[in-house]
């Protein structure tokens, strides 16, 4: 603005002002914004502002073949794409009455847990960066890259694998893959103590995250919170355990919980989940060689596949919480309707708006990252 065009506005004397937090802000996850009303640096009111990422996935899916949508769905959540493919496939398989071979189910669980590890490492990095600790970010991203290497070897794609399809998976695991995955798990396991020293026990993080964005179990249930955020309030609910899919009922793992319900507790739950995912993956490495058989069941010509009419609602536990796909078919070659329920549609909107009130401006980013909110799941 030219100085001659500047016109001073007379406000009544007050410390209150409004601030646009995002969409271009280093402290916000993805393209997302908050309209924040502040008194000094204390938040009085926060309103979520979405739409910067809207690509109309649900509408696009209605115009594509059942099989084509596999290439579309992982793009809904970039850091954790595997659950998207698998959840969509589960919903379509239920409609089509397909029985997924056991070997394919194990390979799917392997992807889901690898994706969970990668997503959690990314989240820690993001959260650490909001407190100025960029080393954790660099470490997290570097270690995530090693997991992406394994994804690349298995599927050909580092981030979006487009590897699952209704009925199973595209390819079997390469030779020697499980031993390389085992080496990676040993490495990640050995890194956990380093992460503890660098981040989880670091007082810069602990003192800021403790008692920040506190949510009671009652509030969490009222606001529709799921995933690690719910478990951080003491409720051991996990879709993998309580509404099991694939072969999770054959695997041995714990559901880590914390009681405090603050930003620290949410991160500690994710830290404990890393160990559980490593534990699950080690069981898969031990079991998978003994499970023989096909990797997918026969499906009709995918280019002219008419999925029987009906509707189905599939749920999986993504790294962020409960992910749901409601799919409706009228017996045509394309879905009639697909509705995606992303866990962040609660966490990034209603929960964040509530938790931000009373916090300080510099803590909004921390609260958002502690909730692991993923804006593309809101926009879709």
């Amino acid at each position: 603005m030219r100085p001659e065009n500047y016109q001073a506005v007379n406000h009544p004397p007050s410390n209150e002002f409004e601030l646009n937090f995002g969409p271009n802000h280093p402290g916000i996850e993805g393209n997302y914004a908050f309209k924040v009303k502040l008194n000094g640096d204390r938040v009085l009111e926060a309103k979520a502002d979405a739409g910067y990422l809207h690509r109309g996935f649900e509408k696009l899916m209605e115009g594509r073949l059942w099989i084509q949508n596999i290439a579309l769905v992982p793009r809904i959540c970039v850091p954790d794409p595997a659950p998207m493919e698998i959840c969509y496939s589960l919903a379509v398989e239920e409609l089509g009455g397909l029985e997924v071979p056991e070997r394919a189910q194990w390979i799917r669980v392997m992807q889901l847990e690898m994706s969970r590890l990668a997503a959690h490492l990314f989240t820690f990095g993001g959260h650490a960066a909001t407190t100025g600790m960029y080393s954790t970010m660099f470490w997290g991203v570097a270690d995530r890259d090693l997991i992406l290497d394994r994804f690349e070897e298995l599927t050909g794609g580092r981030v979006y694998s487009i590897f699952n399809l209704p009925g199973g998976v595209r390819r079997d695991i390469p030779e020697g893959y499980l031993s390389r995955l085992g080496d990676l798990l040993d490495y990640l396991d050995s890194r956990l103590t380093d992460y503890d020293d660098l981040f989880f026990r670091n007082q810069v993080f602990v003192k800021r995250a403790r008692d920040l964005g506190v949510m009671s179990q009652e509030q969490a249930l009222k606001w529709g919170v799921t995933g690690p955020n719910l478990r951080a309030t003491g409720l051991p609910f996990d879709v993998r355990r309580d509404d099991p899919y694939l072969v999770y009922d054959q695997l041995d793992f714990d559901i880590p919980t914390e009681q405090a319900g603050d930003a620290l507790a949410r991160n500690l739950v994710r830290r404990a989940e890393l160990q559980q995912s490593i534990r699950i993956l080690r069981q898969i490495i031990a079991q998978l060689p003994h499970i023989k058989g096909p990797i997918r069941c026969p499906i009709p010509n995918p280019l002219a596949w008419q999925v029987p009419a009906g509707d189905s609602y599939a749920r999986v536990e993504s790294s962020k919480g409960e992910l749901g796909y409601y799919v409706v078919s009228t017996g045509g070659e394309k879905p009639y309707r697909v509705h995606v329920r992303g866990p962040s549609s609660m966490h990034a909107v209603q929960v964040l708006e509530n938790l931000a009130v009373g916090a300080r401006l510099e803590d909004i980013a921390q609260i958002m990252f502690s909730l692991d909110a993923c804006p593309p799941e809101v926009d879709r």
């Binding site: 509408k59 799921t226 749920r315 409960e322 409601y326 009639y336 509705h339 909107v349």
Partner: protein, 183 residues
């Protein structure tokens, strides 16, 4: 657990008229109910059967039947079952009742459905635009809205004909079908 749940549901749902219950799988139950009875159904399920988690509200546009179908997916942490309650409302005027008093997560889903399908929920805390802030067209998830047609009406394809492409086409190669030929 299954038998106890069946008994509980039978006793609850016996209080409502015109209701059809179908057990799809061990942990999935489908309920079809009239639009005016749905809030009562959800209140009963939440208050007396522990279905306290609203997983999602999905909307389906049945344009040929001039109806919207609303599907409320509710989960019970106790019985570990998911009930999908289906109801249909007339497409015009497309007005229904909010269940925000029962389930707070409904605010997001109702706002989303209002924006994408144009269904107005009376009593919902915020029906303002959220995702499509600068959109003035019809609700885009309605079946009559054709995204491709909209693109062709409002935008033009760039006339992309560089020299190398002309040469290639002169030799019989290049882009043999133009977008308008494919349509």
């Amino acid at each position: 657990m299954t038998k106890a749940l069946d008994t509980l549901l039978d006793s609850l749902l016996g209080e409502l008229e015109n209701i059809r219950v179908q057990r799809v799988t061990q942990r999935r139950i489908r309920v079809d109910v009239d639009a005016d009875a749905l809030p009562t159904l959800l209140e009963l399920l939440q208050g007396r059967a522990g279905y306290i988690h609203l997983s999602a509200i999905s909307c389906v546009d049945w344009v040929d039947e001039l109806q919207f179908e609303l599907v409320y997916h509710v989960w019970s942490y106790e019985t570990r079952t998911l009930i999908s309650a289906h109801t249909r409302i007339p497409r015009e005027p497309g007005v229904y009742i909010s269940i925000y008093d029962l389930y707070q997560p409904a605010a997001f889903f109702e706002r989303d459905i209002h924006e994408m399908f144009g269904v107005y929920f009376e009593g919902s805390p915020n029906m303002e635009k959220f995702i499509l802030t600068e959109w003035n067209g019809p609700p885009p998830m309605r079946k009559e809205f054709d995204s491709e047609q909209f693109v062709h009406q409002h935008f033009e394809f760039e006339n992309y004909q560089p020299d190398w492409l002309r040469e290639l086409e002169a030799r019989g190669g290049g882009i043999t079908k133009r977008p308008e030929d494919i349509r």
